[in-house]
């Protein structure tokens, strides 16, 4: 059994909206193993983003435990939380959130700014990460000179800068066209497959979700359904339709010709 990198126990989150109290999450239990690729799905207002924010230490839960590498981050004060965010979590946003006045490589270097890494070390790692997300040669471009897909890839490189235990992506394909969407999903899948990065994405796009290993359906702040995704099959290198052997790069099964 693989070790659990993230374990959520009975997590609840409520906040007041005007005079109304909104129960965004109620008693969520979840275990994510190291190297897993998980999608959280659900209609608007089901609590997807709230869950991701709480997992990413951007928000505090009302009750429950979040064990990240066996540390209960729900109990940590802000003076400790930023270290968790810096070192354990990589966050990817729907709107990319790159700093407009920094170029691609500087944006990637940003999370390493407060670490002990030397300037040259940071530069080297950032350039390696940009190469990994397929942006070699675009290091000096500012966000406004990059396409949406490229911007999101810079954001992913930035999220991976401090080699986090878990990569959280909130609707990472939400602002991308179909082609870029597929590219990005492929990128995330290959990161998971080749680098072993643990990834949790929030999406309402079924197609995107289907490329993950595990799909969780969230409704009214509760996980109501769990489903296997295509990604798992790729990991096991076995066609889910006919059971024959497949390659990671295959988009359709070489035997039964069905789409993977």
């Amino acid at each position: 059994m693989s070790e659990a990198v993230l374990k959520i126990e009975n997590l609840s989150k409520s906040y007041t909206l005007g005079k109304r109290s909104v129960q965004a999450l109620s008693g969520v239990n979840l275990k994510v193993n190291k190297g897993e690729f998980v999608a959280i799905m659900g209609p608007s207002g089901s609590g997807k983003t709230t869950l991701l924010n709480v997992l990413g230490c951007l928000d505090k839960p009302t009750s429950g435990r979040i064990l990240l590498d066996e540390v209960d981050v729900a109990k940590l004060p802000e003076t400790e939380l930023y270290k968790i965010r810096r070192n354990k979590i990589g966050f990817v946003f729907q709107t990319f959130n790159l700093l407009p006045y920094l170029n691609a490589i500087e944006n990637v270097e940003l999370p390493m700014e407060c670490t002990k890494k030397s300037k040259s070390e940071r530069r080297r790692r950032a350039s390696k990460l940009l190469e990994m997300v397929g942006l070699s040669g675009r290091e000096g471009h500012r966000p406004q000179r990059l396409s949406a897909g490229e911007q999101q890839r810079v954001a992913i490189a930035r999220a991976l800068a401090n080699d986090p235990a878990i990569l959280l992506a909130d609707e990472p394909t939400g602002n991308l066209d179909t082609k870029n969407k597929q590219e990005l999903v492929k990128l995330l899948a290959s990161l998971n497959l080749n680098q072993g990065t643990t990834i949790i994405i929030v999406t309402h796009d079924g197609q995107v979700a289907s490329h993950t290993e595990r799909m969780l359906l969230l409704k009214d702040g509760k996980i109501i359904k769990e489903k296997q995704g295509l990604h798992l099959a790729k990991k096991k290198l076995m066609c889910p339709h006919c059971g024959s052997r497949i390659q990671v790069s295959d988009t359709s099964c070489p035997s039964c010709k069905k789409r993977l």
């Binding site: 924010n53 990413g56 951007l58 928000d59 802000e78 003076t79 930023y82 270290k83 965010r85 810096r86 070192n87 966050f91 946003f93 959130n97 700093l99 940003l110 999370p111 700014e113 407060c114 930035r158 999220a159 800068a161 401090n162």
Partner: protein
């Protein structure tokens, strides 16, 4: 920022000018005091001008007095011995001094407590001018220069203030000098002669040994020479126009003056007392002027302080609002920074730094503006120091009462100070916005568009 720099510059200029003024006033007072001390023992004796002294009144027609009157026109009318014996002029001499026979007054030196008697002969040289007055025409002398003959005797010139003290060129007259003159600066121009030159006075040549500036004891148009030279030159051998009697101490001045008066009732005896009173009045007015200057400066400083407080408050508020706006505008960026692991402290210091940098840029711009507009700004914003209320001017010192544009200069210290103030205000103004930025909860910040 420009205001913040200009005002201290203006104050500095005002302070400098007030200091200058204070310096001048205290110099004047010191001079005055010295002058007072010097002349305390001095009694000026001369024949009263006008009717009594000159025998117009037959009852007073005594030989002694008449002797003096014989050459009375010497000092006042048309130079030495123009029309000897002409009586009429004396009547119109109006407060002037007239010639007296030297030998008649030798008894003064034997009066008790008289330390010295210095006879002198004064003669004006110039051109006659006719003026209409009270329906009559009078002839009046417009002097070009005044000859003052002083006995150049070491024991007198060395111990008593009978010669000018401020020699601006060459040397002063000294005991035993003859055939030489000490010119005033005006004389020097009139004769177009300087030290070492030879000038001709009434047909006789004299060598110029020195030039004196005008002061309390000397006149601007007076040239000094040996008494005997002057007497010969003006054809007044044996005659003088006044006697300076020096009492042995200031406490006996009145007694000595009374003694002189009783011995020679025809003499007009003026003690230093009158002069003292004048000088004291002058001193009082200078003191008042000083106080005025001080109070004006205080007022200026109060105004400047108020203006600086307003400027500082305005600057801080501007920085505060700009930074609050910036923080609001960049909420999402702040959220992002926090989401990728920036600590509160890092975020706060980044925004503080931004505020400070912003203010420093403003500081540079302000200094640039101030270096051009400081004189205008400070004269617009500050009352100027003028202890004499505008119309009253203190001779050469008058220039010091208003700082001119040239005196308002921005010095490097002031610039550095302004720069420091800018940084401080930047930090102060951005403190709260930066703190707010650092407290932003990332999840909320992310929702913000």
């Amino acid at each position: 920022m420009a205001i913040m720099i200009s005002i201290p510059a203006g104050i500095t200029a005002n302070q400098a000018s007030t200091q200058n003024l204070t310096q001048n006033l205290s110099n004047t007072i010191t001079q005055t005091e010295a002058s007072i001390n010097q002349t305390l023992t001095q009694i000026t004796c001369s024949l009263s001008s006008g009717f009594e002294g000159f025998g117009f009144n037959p009852g007073n027609f005594t030989p002694g007095q008449f002797g003096g009157g014989g050459n009375f026109n010497l000092g006042q009318f048309g130079g030495g011995g123009n029309v000897p014996g002409e009586f009429g002029g004396g009547a119109f001499s109006g407060g002037g001094t007239s010639a007296m026979n030297e030998t008649l007054y030798s008894d003064i030196s034997s009066i008790e407590n008289v330390a010295a008697v210095v006879p002198s002969l004064q003669a004006s040289e110039g051109t006659n001018q006719t003026v209409e007055m009270f329906g009559r025409s009078f002839t009046r002398l417009v002097p070009d220069y005044v000859i003052e003959g002083i006995p150049l005797n070491s024991s007198l010139v060395d111990n008593y203030p009978i010669l000018p003290t401020n020699i601006t060129d060459g040397r002063n007259l000294q005991g035993g000098d003859s055939g030489v003159v000490l010119l005033s600066e005006n004389n020097s121009k009139f004769f177009d002669a300087g030290v070492g030159d030879t000038i001709t006075i009434l047909g006789k040549t004299f060598e110029v040994v020195g030039v004196h500036g005008s002061s309390g004891v000397s006149d601007r148009t007076t040239l000094y020479m040996n008494l005997s030279d002057a007497q010969v030159l003006t054809n007044n051998t044996g005659y003088i126009t006044s006697l300076e009697v020096f009492a042995s101490s200031s406490s006996v001045v009145t007694e000595v003056a009374n003694a002189v008066s009783s011995l020679h009732p025809e003499l007009s005896v003026v003690t230093a007392q009158q002069r003292l009173e004048q000088l004291q009045a002058m001193q009082t007015s200078y003191n008042t002027a000083l106080q005025n200057a001080e109070s004006t400066l205080n007022q200026t400083q109060t105004t400047a302080f108020e203006e600086i407080v307003v400027a500082v408050a305005a600057t801080s508020l501007i920085v505060l609002f700009v930074m609050l706006y910036t923080v609001r505008e960049r909420t999402k960026e702040i959220g992002t920074l926090k989401a990728i692991g920036f600590s509160n402290w890092t975020v706060m210091s980044q925004f503080m730094l931004e505020g400070v940098l912003l203010s420093l840029v403003a500081g540079v711009v302000g200094i640039a503006i101030a270096s051009v507009a400081a004189p205008t700004l400070s004269s617009l914003l500050l009352p100027s120091v003028n202890p004499f209320g505008g119309s009253v001017r203190l001779g050469a010192n008058a220039g010091a009462s208003n700082p001119s544009a040239a005196t308002i200069a921005i010095n490097p210290q002031l610039m550095l100070l302004a720069f420091g103030a800018a940084a401080l205000l930047g930090a102060l103004g951005s403190l709260y916005p930066a703190w707010r930025a650092s407290r932003t909860r990332p999840a909320e910040a992310m929702r913000y568009e």
